[in-house]
């Protein structure tokens, strides 16, 4: 875990130094950067993006858990992008069975833009493989965005996780809010907040509520750092810290 953290820190530092200077991207929020909801905006056709992230979780009754996340996104068609990523996790005291114990492929497609009264909708399909739990599942994500106030945006993500081993479906719902901080005078930081609820497992009817707060800050013309905290309430209490970096290529 410590070694992995050092590696990630070094990679983040290197990327920050090496980047020449990214357009502010309040309209392009991504899953895990830093909270768990994303917006409908696909990458522009022809563009590419690299993301790194580190998530550290303290869960009651368990050893601290660290997760790394790396993603590569490509705007492969107009209003569509795909991403491939790996999501290895490490628990203190032992390293998990594989360095790449989770991998996924996602395609996001914006199905309609926002109108004066209508929200913008999109659908994302993500095929995830989680080795440690010997689990493959398909995540289907419905996304809706809507403007509110002068610069704020409301986001809804509804995830359905269907086990490919036919163990049922798990649900994960996020209500998010984002706003450029200090707009219009300052445009480099975006505040993100969410309330969420997820079922405790496949086929479970127990819901775990959660909340999160974070910030994305543009640090160069191509780089954005993000930082967030997440809390899970209810029977499973957890506290997570998230740190990440996005680099436009």
């Amino acid at each position: 875990m410590i070694k992995a953290f050092k590696l990630l820190t070094a990679a983040l530092g290197l990327a920050l130094c090496a980047t020449p200077a990214l357009a502010s991207d309040h309209g392009n929020l991504d899953d895990a950067r830093p909270l768990r909801f994303e917006d409908v905006a696909p990458l522009p056709y022809g563009s590419r993006e690299l993301q790194f992230g580190l998530r550290s979780s303290l869960i009651r009754g368990q050893r601290p858990l660290g997760e790394l996340r790396g993603e590569y996104k490509v705007g492969f068609a107009v209003n569509r992008h795909f991403e491939i990523g790996f999501d290895p996790s490490f628990q203190s005291g032992r390293r998990s069975e594989s360095a790449f114990d989770a991998a996924y492929f996602e395609q996001l497609r914006q199905s309609n833009p926002e109108g004066t009264f209508l929200a913008s909708f999109g659908l994302a399909y993500r095929l995830e493989y989680v080795r440690e739990q010997n689990e493959d599942y398909l995540r289907t994500r419905f996304i809706a965005d809507k403007q509110t106030g002068d610069y704020g945006r409301l986001h809804v993500n509804v995830d359905g996780l269907t086990s490919l081993q036919s163990r049922g479906t798990a649900w994960d719902i996020h209500f998010g809010y984002s706003e450029p901080l200090g707009a219009p005078r300052h445009l480099e930081s975006t505040l993100v907040a969410e309330f969420s609820g997820r079922t405790a497992g496949f086929g479970s009817s127990d819901w775990i509520p959660g909340a999160g707060l974070g910030i994305r800050k543009q640090v160069s013309s191509l780089g954005t750092v993000d930082f967030g905290v997440e809390l899970d309430f209810g029977s499973v209490r957890a506290f997570r810290l998230v740190l990440g970096y996005t680099l436009g290529l």
């Binding site: 309040h26 309209g27 905006a41 107009v78 309609n112 403007q147 480099e188």
Partner: protein
């Protein structure tokens, strides 16, 4: 019933009953086909062309930040217009924008984030704007990139134009009749109702065009030095000017770039005219919201590349019958990078502050530029010719003598850009308030053997160094006794106003009545000249 600029005289009854006809007429009497993509409202965002030069604008930090701030300025004004805050535009929004312009953002701004309502309602327009702004930034990035030579940059700018114009949101690179595009019943409303906010828009457009001659053919150090002058002019004067008769045109302010890349210059002018059209439509209280939406769509279609796909540009003197409506693609004979202006005739056009100018002639001695079937890479017909920039205007002259003398007749700081024997190296001289020049080519020398102006390209020249001067003398034995002049000696000379100079005396076509005040309540300025 469609009026050419000035005060609108159309009643609301007209608008409610005859709007469809008005919109058809706005397109020259022909209903233009709406491209499919304008019926789709998805974001359709496209990436810029990849290249090592991207974001080289940041190498000129003050320029980059001023350019980034133009995005904030556009977005905030548009958002206020669609949110029904027009009455606060001059009193609250303009000062708010001005404050941001004084402390501009460090990075390129996502305009949709600060104009969400506007971007949502006018999503087609947003695509056109964003794509054209991408061309703006990428052409700037190429010219500011220090890693490539002149020729490579030339090729890349051509490639950028091809890449840009291949997309459906591209604006036409053909010259458009600006008088017609500014001749709708709503034209001029924004500038007369909201002069201070309009000054900001025209200030941004001045900056977005003035930079091209600043960057073209010059090295980074010189670009930075030139921006110290241009940026100061932009912030202290251009953003608050309410005396302009018309929006700044690329060929007026960056004539060298406009001659070299006429399609790009025309596309930028068409973009800026679209901004003016949209401003005027949104400022028109006689239109319903639905009519505004239709009018904005018509304004977009008027300037799309796809609308004019089968058209060709044509020099003014080659036109037998002027094409109707929006398909009038005449340009001044000697300037293919400019559309037809109000009152223009052949090569003559009216410029605020300068009066009538003939673009085929030297602005200082009025002798015609040499004919040449092909312009060289520097935008002139040969290794001569220069431009003089001062007080927001830029003039083309035949030789460095005319440039120097014109500079010394101008008040304030001047930027003189002259061709040398090396097409890839432009001599840039920047004067301070006292008229003392600094050069980007420290070894430059001058040939200054005044004779008749029609042959000035032979006796008034700038060379990058003494060896080039000697080579010229060897090839031109008539000047064998001439001595090379260093900058300090050359700059102290002054030959006076040439006898060949003629002032074109015609009234301001935008203000036929000279006593008529402009929207700000002041009269048009005249060119101030002095002898040093």
């Amino acid at each position: 019933m469609l009026l050419a600029g000035g005060e609108p005289k159309v009643t609301s009854a007209f608008f409610s009953t005859l709007m469809p006809l008005a919109l058809a007429l706005a397109s020259g009497g022909q209903a233009q086909e709406k491209p499919d993509w304008m019926n789709r409202r998805t974001e359709d965002r496209l990436s810029y062309l990849r290249g090592p030069y991207n974001r080289s604008i940041d190498l000129i930090p003050e320029f980059a930040r001023d350019m980034y701030a133009t995005g904030v300025g556009h977005a905030l004004a548009y958002e206020a217009l669609v949110r029904g805050r027009k009455d606060r535009l001059e009193s609250q929004v303009q000062p708010q924008i001005a404050a941001i312009l004084r402390n501009p953002p460090r990075f390129l701004v996502d305009e949709a984030a600060i104009s969400p309502r506007f971007s949502t309602r006018f999503s087609s327009l947003e695509k056109v704007f964003e794509w054209a702004h991408t061309l703006h930034f990428q052409t700037i990035d190429v010219l500011a990139y220090p890693g490539w030579d002149f020729q490579r940059k030339e090729e890349e700018i051509q490639r950028l134009w091809k890449f840009y114009s291949a997309q459906p949101f591209a604006l036409t690179g053909l010259p458009m009749n600006m008088d017609r595009l500014d001749g709708f019943s709503w034209s001029g409303l924004f500038r007369s109702k909201y002069p201070k906010t309009n000054a900001l828009f025209w200030g941004y457009h001045w900056l977005q065009t003035a930079n091209y001659d600043m960057l073209y053919g010059t090295a980074l150090a010189s670009q930075r030095e030139q921006y110290a002058v241009l940026g100061d002019r932009y912030r202290t004067e251009e953003l608050t000017r309410t005396d302009r008769d018309f929006m700044p045109m690329t060929a007026e302010i960056s004539p060298r770039f406009a001659r070299r890349f006429p399609q790009i210059a025309n596309a930028f002018d068409n973009l800026h005219m679209l901004h003016d059209n949209v401003n005027d439509i949104l400022a028109d209280d006689r239109l319903t919201e639905s009519q505004k939406d239709q009018a904005v769509d018509a304004a977009i279609i008027n300037v799309l590349a796809s609308t004019h796909r089968n058209c060709e540009p044509v020099a003014a003197d080659e036109v037998e019958t002027v094409a109707p409506g929006i398909h009038d693609h005449r340009h001044p004979n000697s300037m293919p990078g400019m559309g037809w202006m109000k009152g223009s005739d052949g090569d003559e056009m009216f410029m605020t502050g300068m009066g009538w100018m003939d673009m085929s002639e030297c602005a200082h001695c009025s002798v015609s530029f040499p004919d040449s079937p092909k312009l060289t890479a520097t935008g002139f017909a040969g290794p001569y010719g220069a431009t003089v920039s001062s007080n927001g205007w830029t003039m083309s002259v035949r030789c460095v003598l005319c440039a120097r003398d014109m500079a010394s007749e101008s008040i304030g700081r001047v930027i003189l850009r002259a061709a040398t024997e090396d097409p890839s190296r432009i001599l840039v001289l920047i004067s301070d308030e006292e008229g003392t020049f600094r050069s980007n080519l420290p070894e430059a020398v001058f040939l200054d053997e005044p004779a008749e102006h029609p042959e000035c390209e032979s006796w008034s020249r700038a060379f990058t160094n003494r060896a080039a001067f000697e080579r010229y003398l060897k090839a031109n034995p008539g000047f064998q006794s001439a001595q090379p002049l260093v900058l300090a000696d050359w700059a102290n000379r002054y030959n006076g106003k040439p006898e060949t100079y003629r002032k074109i005396s015609r009234p301001n076509p935008y203000r036929p009545n000279p006593d008529r005040l402009n929207p700000s309540g002041t009269k048009s300025p005249s060119l101030e000249v002095r002898s040093r």
